[in-house]
């Protein structure tokens, strides 16, 4: 049942992505200021959004895991989802960052500037890479779940602080112009691609979640049977 849904979603995502690519590359009008280069926004922005969505989900799962006082086996679902969302978020965030960098080359002449958004995203990605590294280096499943939830919360709380500090830090130097999508057809294409990316994100997330869940099950021995010898 779940596999059928994933299959349907995958097909749908693929269709939307392909059509979205056509819409973005051919159908939508070129930007008045930036020309065709602006078209990369149709994939850059959704990638970034999916990265942030993954991060948000990770935070929610981390809090959910820690709020459960008994921390029974059932709550390892929250932990598996936290792991999946961090990885998928990292993937999309990195993709978004690379696409933003590619956009930057013809626009600003350089692959990287200290634009607050790019910079914040870069810091975030390193932070979540650290989160995933931590998960790799703790062997006990229950400990790993609790400690990575702690780290997940600490990182998530830092996100607004990073954003403000980087903005102040950079505001002393230059002001970046953000691409303005005013044409309604551009908005439409952006939304189309956003939905496509969301579906893709869901497919990746659910697949990764299933993998994480089954790894948890393999790691943890099943409950033992009742004693035959009573003391």
């Amino acid at each position: 049942m779940a596999r059928t849904i994933r299959l349907v979603l995958s097909v749908l995502a693929l269709l939307l992505l392909v059509s979205g690519a056509w819409l973005g590359l051919a159908w939508a009008p070129p930007d008045r200021e930036m020309g065709d280069v602006q078209r990369i926004m149709y994939v850059h922005l959704p990638s970034v959004w999916m990265g942030l969505l993954g991060v948000t989900l990770n935070f929610v799962c981390s809090v959910a895991y820690l709020l459960n006082p008994r921390r029974t086996v059932a709550n390892l679902d929250a932990d598996a989802l936290a792991e999946a969302s961090a990885e998928v978020g990292l993937f999309f965030g990195t993709l978004g960052l690379m696409l933003g960098s590619i956009w930057g080359r013809p626009t600003w002449g350089v692959f990287w500037t200290w634009d607050p958004r790019l910079t914040s995203m870069a810091i975030l990605l390193v932070a979540y890479a650290g989160y995933l590294a931590l998960r790799r280096f703790i062997d006990d499943a229950e400990r790993r779940a609790a400690w990575s939830a702690v780290v997940g919360i600490i990182i998530a709380v830092d996100i607004p602080i990073i954003w403000f500090s980087v903005r102040w830090w950079n505001s002393l130097h230059q002001v970046q112009s953000s691409p303005k999508t005013v044409d309604p057809s551009m908005v439409f294409v952006l939304r189309w691609n956003a939905v496509a990316f969301l579906l893709l994100w869901l497919v990746f997330l659910s697949t990764r979640y299933v993998i994480a869940r089954s790894r948890r099950e393999r790691e943890l021995a099943p409950p033992p049977l009742a004693s035959e010898v009573a003391r």
Partner: protein, 212 residues
């Protein structure tokens, strides 16, 4: 006479292994339990759970009628643990180590000094623990336990690394605990010594109760 300990269907898992599997056990106040079993049979895990250091994966643990997980803060002053590790800071003196514990448990530093005299470390009390032999470190460890005047005393291999004189002293301390009405759980490979000190016995095999 109520129960000092009540374990109901308690299991503890470390990853792929169950260290304790569905253990049920009661011990009256003032009784003393000898815990035996091979290495890895779950003795240390059981003691740690009784000390409220760990919580069980499943099952209920009650100490003196209270939930060992929910009320661990209020139970800890009543429990003394002599563990595998010494819990000592090597660069502090024996007296400093004990005084810290005393103060945290609501007792005075003077009591720490007194108990160090009692275990025969009065002369060396002001030297860093790093300079102590294994046997002396054991004495500081038992001093830490006696200091709390615990109602529940948990001892994990107390005779390890001790010479015969040391073993005799340790037996004396354990006897003083049992005669003062404390409940004692003693895990040891020295079964013969243990049997003379304890009223009851539990043998563990792979985390379960089994006949010895």
């Amino acid at each position: 006479m109520s129960n000092a300990l009540e374990l109901t269907d308690v299991s503890k898992r470390y990853g792929p292994r169950w260290a304790l599997a569905r253990l049920t056990l009661q011990l009256r106040e003032g009784a003393s339990l000898l815990l035996t079993g091979h290495n890895g049979s779950g003795k240390t895990t059981l003691l740690r759970i009784l000390a409220t250091a760990f919580r069980p994966t499943t099952g209920l643990v009650r100490l003196f009628g209270r939930d060992a997980v929910a009320e661990r803060e209020s139970l800890r002053p009543r429990i003394g643990l002599l563990g595998h590790t010494s819990f000592l800071y090597e660069d502090l003196t024996a007296r400093e180590n004990c005084a810290l514990l005393a103060r945290l448990a609501g007792r005075s530093a003077a009591e720490a000094r007194a108990v160090l005299d009692r275990v025969g470390l009065g002369a060396r009390a002001d030297q860093p623990v790093r300079t102590f032999s294994a046997g002396m470190k054991k004495r500081v460890a038992i001093a830490r336990l006696l200091l709390k005047q615990p109602e529940l005393a948990l001892l994990d291999e107390p005779f390890g690394a001790l010479d015969p004189a040391g073993i005799a002293e340790m037996e004396e301390h354990i006897r003083s605990l049992t005669s003062s009405g404390a409940t004692v759980v003693l895990a040891t490979h020295q079964v013969a010594h243990g049997l003379t000190l304890c009223t009851e016995r539990l043998h563990l095999v792979e985390g379960r109760a089994a006949p010895p």
